[in-house]
Structures are given as C-alpha cells and as structure tokens.
C-alpha cells in the first residue's frame, strides 16, 4: 500500500468495471480510502503440506490431517516415534518465519485490521495474546518436533523434504502443489494450520493474490484498463492456466479445467470457499525485516522465548513508529478498510 501512499498508483474504480474488479478477487489488501488499487491476477494460497505416505507409515489418517493443536502434537509424536521428523522446513533465508506468522499469528486476531493496530500502537505485542504464536513455535522446538537442520536450510529445499518423504509436515504455497503432486502421484496433501488460537480468523484458509495496477503517470489508463479487462475474460483465464499450469485468481476461471485432483481439492477449499488474506503482506517493511523474520529464526534456534519474541516485536513496532510518523497516519486510515 506504500505505492499508493507515495502516489504511484491510480485507483481502478471507474477504470475497470465493478464486476471485473470484484470477480478478480483483489483481496482486502488492495483497498484504501474506499478505492481498490489492484486487480487480482493469480492467487497465493498459503497451505500446510503433508506427506500422505509418511502419515500412513505413522498410523495417521492421510485423508484427515490434524485440525487442532492437540491433534497436531499427537500426530508429531506418532511421526517421531516411527523415526520420521514430524514438522518444519528451512528457515535460513527467513521466509518460513514469515509464513509461520501468516498462519499462526492470524489465529489470535478477530480482524485483519487488528494486526495494523499492533503496528500503530493501539495494541501491544507484549500482550500474551499477540505473542502466543511464538510460544507455540517454542513448544514445537522444545518437544523436538522440528527438523534439526531447519535453521541452515532455505525455504524451498525445506519444502522439498516433505515431497521427498523426509519430513512429515511443512509450510508451503499453493502454486507448488501441481508439481509436488505430480512428483508424488498425488501423495502431497494440503491442510489449514491446526488451530490453537481463539481469534475469529483462526482456522480459515489463507489466500492472497498477486495483482495488476495502473501507474498514476500512465499516459493512457483507459487502454491499460481495457487490457486488464481482456485478461479477465474466461478465454484468457483458461489460456493463462494452460500456459502456466497455475490458476488465475478470477472467479470467472472455469475450475473444471483443473485436471490434478489435489490442486482441484485445494482450490475448492482455499479459493472457492470463505478465506482470509495474508496478514504479513500488510506489515511495514521495517517490522517484517527486523521482527517478523528474526523472531521466528531465534525462537527455533532456542535463543529467544516466545515472550521475548513479543518484547522484540513491540520494540521494533515502536521503532517503526518513530522512524515513519507519516506512514503511521496512513496505517491509521487503512485500519478502517481492513476492518470491514
């Protein structure tokens, strides 16, 4: 949204038809001041993935992955008992820590706007409710459920461990599913992160989108808008899927064109059902770099407790406010759009 606040983007209302804009599924993160600045292009479902063969080996039901925190711990215990590393991935480049916040932090929130309130100072990361997700991560580490090379592996090699049958569960992204499903003959499953939180957003599938916008300085915004309209015709949406193997975000896309059963099932649960957006995508860059990522890495390392992670997050949020008083005002306005 900084691109909007710095005056780089035009609002799409009035340029695109209301019907096309809504159908493109831009998500709530595209809205500010009552205008929409981004049309959806392709979705980014955030999933937890698991290896069904390893679940079978551990005596778990591969078609009924854990839904609650207690079920998750039980599943991890069973996997560990048969010699399988239960959960994790790769965290060296930091993105696993970000994705963990996308899945876990949001469970303690009632609205997406509540996350913004933490950055602008209306709420505090020192409140146990808002660092509980790091306490849960600490619990996974303490119980020995995370893969031992997690701190030194990068994100995608970490996901590869699940596909290769060396790790039971991990975090992944929906766009990987076609290839991973093909590589394992459909033995990679998708699930929502098991629930521990009591916020109203807990347990909901997470989908964000990459989008298309129109520059403020565009010489011919009507032509740009016409092109976006064209890209959102059913024929072009089908061509996008055929060329890339991935899905467009528009609801005008004919989901019957999806051939892979795992992808179809994932899209039914994530894209075609009620979902929430990815909360880490509204984080100020300074918080993302100096808190969201380092906290997860250090909790997994054992050098920070969950509570200390909350203290670090609170300090960095304050620093962001000190460094960016102008952006604090914009975030205060944005809360209104995000809380709808």
């Amino acid at each position: 949204m900084e691109s909007v606040w710095f005056g780089y983007l035009k609002p799409l209302n009035g340029l695109l038809s209301e019907d096309t804009l809504r159908a493109s599924n831009p998500t709530v993160l595209s809205n500010f001041g009552g205008n929409t600045y981004r049309a959806g292009w392709y979705p980014l479902p955030m999933v937890w993935c698991y290896n069904k063969d390893l679940f079978d080996k551990a005596g778990l039901d591969a078609d009924a992955p854990p839904k609650t925190w207690a079920e998750l711990l039980e599943a991890c215990d069973k996997l560990k008992t048969v010699g399988i590393e239960p959960l994790g991935g790769g965290m060296q480049d930091g993105y696993w820590a970000e994705w963990y916040m996308s899945h876990a932090f949001v469970q303690t929130l009632d609205t997406v706007g509540e996350a913004v309130e933490l950055f602008i100072g209306d709420k505090d990361f020192n409140d146990p409710r808002y660092y509980e997700h790091w306490v849960r991560l600490e619990e996974l580490r303490t119980l020995g459920f995370l893969n031992k090379d997690m701190p030194s592996l990068e994100l995608y090699p970490g996901i590869d461990l699940v596909v290769a049958g060396k790790l039971g569960m991990g975090q992944s992204i929906g766009s990987r599913l076609p290839a991973d499903s093909k590589a394992t003959n459909g033995r990679i499953g998708s699930m929502v992160m098991p629930v521990f939180g009591k916020g109203q957003l807990a347990g909901k599938p997470i989908v964000d989108t990459q989008g298309l916008g129109i520059a403020e300085g565009s010489a011919n915004p009507e032509a740009a808008a016409a092109f976006i309209e064209y890209l959102n015709t059913p024929e072009r949406l089908g061509a996008f899927h055929k060329a890339t193997g991935w899905l467009p975000s528009s609801s005008r896309f004919d989901a019957e064109l999806i051939e892979d059963a795992s992808v179809k099932s994932m899209w039914k649960a994530w894209g075609q059902s009620p979902n929430i957006t990815n909360v880490t995508n509204l984080m100020p860059g300074q918080f993302y770099e100096q808190a969201a990522i380092p906290t997860g890495q250090q909790v997994v390392q054992g050098t920070l407790t969950g509570e200390q992670a909350g203290e670090l997050a609170a300090r960095v949020a304050q620093e962001w406010r000190d460094f960016n008083p102008d952006l604090v005002e914009k975030y205060q306005e944005w809360v209104v759009d995000l809380s709808k």
Binding site: Q92, D149, S152, L153, E289, Q290, P294, D322
Partner: protein, 292 residues
C-alpha cells in the same frame, strides 16, 4: 608556451575527471543531502539531524557496527596466513608457480559463487559435518550457518580464506623484489628458515604489510556485503547475527523504504572510510620517506 605545456596533461584528464565528478561527486552530494531529509520516493522534507539521532539510538545499528568490528579480528589471521604462505612460496620449491595459482584461485572467483558453495558445504547436514561425524568429531559438527552463535564466525572463515589470497600475492611480489644477498648472507651465517624470515625478510616487508592491513580494515568495514548477503540468507541472519552496516544500509534503502536513514549511515561509513584512506596515504608517504 610554458603555461600551455603545464596545462596540457590536465586538459587530457579533464573530460574523465568531469565524468567521474558528475557520477560520483553528484551522488555523494545527494547522499549527504538525503541524510538530512525524510525521503519518500525521490525527495522529502528537511528534518535536520533526526535521521542520525534515530540511527544512533537504534540497537540494530550498533549491533551492525559491532559485527563489523568483530570481523576486524580476521585481519591478524589473514596477515599471518598470507605471510606464512608467501614465505613458503618464496623458497621456490618445485612447482611453486602452480601452488601460487592454486592459492590465488579463491580471489579470482566471484564472492557469490564461493559463498553459494560454502553455504551448501556448511549446512547442518552438509558434507563438512558429515565428514566430521564420520571422524567421530561430532562435537565439531556445529550449525555453521544456522546458529546465531556461530554464523558470523563462519562468514569470517570464508573472508579469511578468500582475502588471504590477495595478501599472498602482495607479500610474494614484495619478497621477489628484495635483494637476495642479505638472505644468502644470513643463510651462510647459519640462520635457519624461521630466523631468516623473522630477522631479514619480514622487516623489509613492513610497508606492504601495513598497506595490506589498512586495505583489509577498509574491507571489513565497508566491503563484506557480498559475503554476508549470500551466507546470511540475504537478511543478516540467522536472527540479526550477521547484520553489518552495509547490509543495514541496503535494507533501509530497498526493504524498509527509508532512503534518508540509509543515507545517514552511508555518510557515517564514508567518513570513517575516508579517515582510513588518509591513514593509508600517511603510511605510504612515510614509507617512501624511509626508502622502503
């Protein structure tokens, strides 16, 4: 006629000087200017010393400076390794030119290439730890790039390995330019290898050693970005254990939309680097005065 002859060399230099002044000079002036502004996009309002106050009160900035200072500990190791290897090469044993090439090879390779390879090798389940475990040295199989306690030292090892190669070449060049009669005289007097090195050769290398130390100090303070970026996951990780001032500047500029903050730290780094370069000139002027 006399005046035009004096001016001629400068006239030949003038176009290039003008270009360099524009490219570097204009950029440096703009960085100084931005350091006093809250820049959004390409400009912003004047805020005086606020950026400097914010940076100097931020723990992450001081952690970055501390890490740069820790990296200075690499320098004695680099000097010692480069000296030892160059002295061994100076003996010109059979095949010494091949050894020289092998020793200099790391310096020829781009840092991202060796860092990517090193990252793979030093993973917790990587080949280095596999060998250590096979040799029953499990206590040494550390999480070289994943542990906040160890990661910076792993980066330091990589820097020492690569940057020592430059020292080898500098020291060897100096050794090969020395008058061998003094060394021969010491050998005839019964001095062993170490005594010849310590009492005859190394004293004559003082100038080049000092030059190498100053260059290495500047490197550790302002030219280790590539090492840290590649080894630290692009973010100075794990945690902030490999965050250094260059990466701090890069993040402030590109990831946290704070060009003013990035400029303030750049100015501070520039001033420190200038001071070190001035020190280098003083040393070299003194050495020329001594005839070294």
């Amino acid at each position: 006629m006399m005046l035009s002859r004096k001016l001629t060399p400068y006239l030949y230099l003038a176009p290039m000087l003008a270009l360099l002044t524009f490219v570097f000079g204009f950029s440096i002036l703009r960085v100084f200017e931005f350091s006093f502004k809250m820049v959004r996009g390409i400009d912003g309002p004047w805020i005086g010393l606020r950026n400097y106050r914010l940076v100097l009160s931020q723990p992450l900035f001081w952690e970055s400076v501390k890490h740069n200072l820790i990296l200075l500990l690499a320098i004695p190791a680099m000097v010692a390794i480069a000296l030892l290897l160059s002295l061994l090469l100076y003996d010109r044993l059979r095949g010494w030119k091949i050894y020289r090439t092998i020793l200099f090879f790391p310096y020829i390779l781009a840092i991202p290439i060796i860092a990517v390879v090193m990252k793979q090798m030093f993973q917790f389940s990587g080949p280095v730890n596999e060998v250590l475990r096979w040799l029953s040295l499990d206590f040494m199989a550390l999480d070289w790039i994943g542990s906040t306690d160890v990661a910076l030292w792993t980066v330091m090892m990589l820097i020492i390995w690569r940057e020592s190669a430059l020292g080898v070449i500098l020291f060897l060049s100096r050794l090969l330019s020395l008058d061998e009669s003094m060394v021969e005289a010491a050998r005839l007097d019964g001095a062993n290898w170490w005594q010849r090195a310590w009492h005859v050769l190394i004293p004559q290398m003082r100038g080049v050693i000092e030059f190498y130390v100053v260059i290495s100090v500047i490197t550790m303070l302002s030219s280790v970005f590539a090492y840290v970026y590649m080894m630290g996951g692009g973010r100075g990780g794990p945690g902030t254990s490999t965050m250094i001032t260059e990466l701090y500047i890069y993040n402030a500029l590109t990831r946290t939309s704070l060009p003013g903050i990035a400029s303030a730290v750049s100015v501070m780094l520039f001033v420190v680097s200038l001071a070190l370069i001035y020190l280098l000139f003083v040393i070299r002027r003194r050495d020329h005065g001594d005839g070294a």
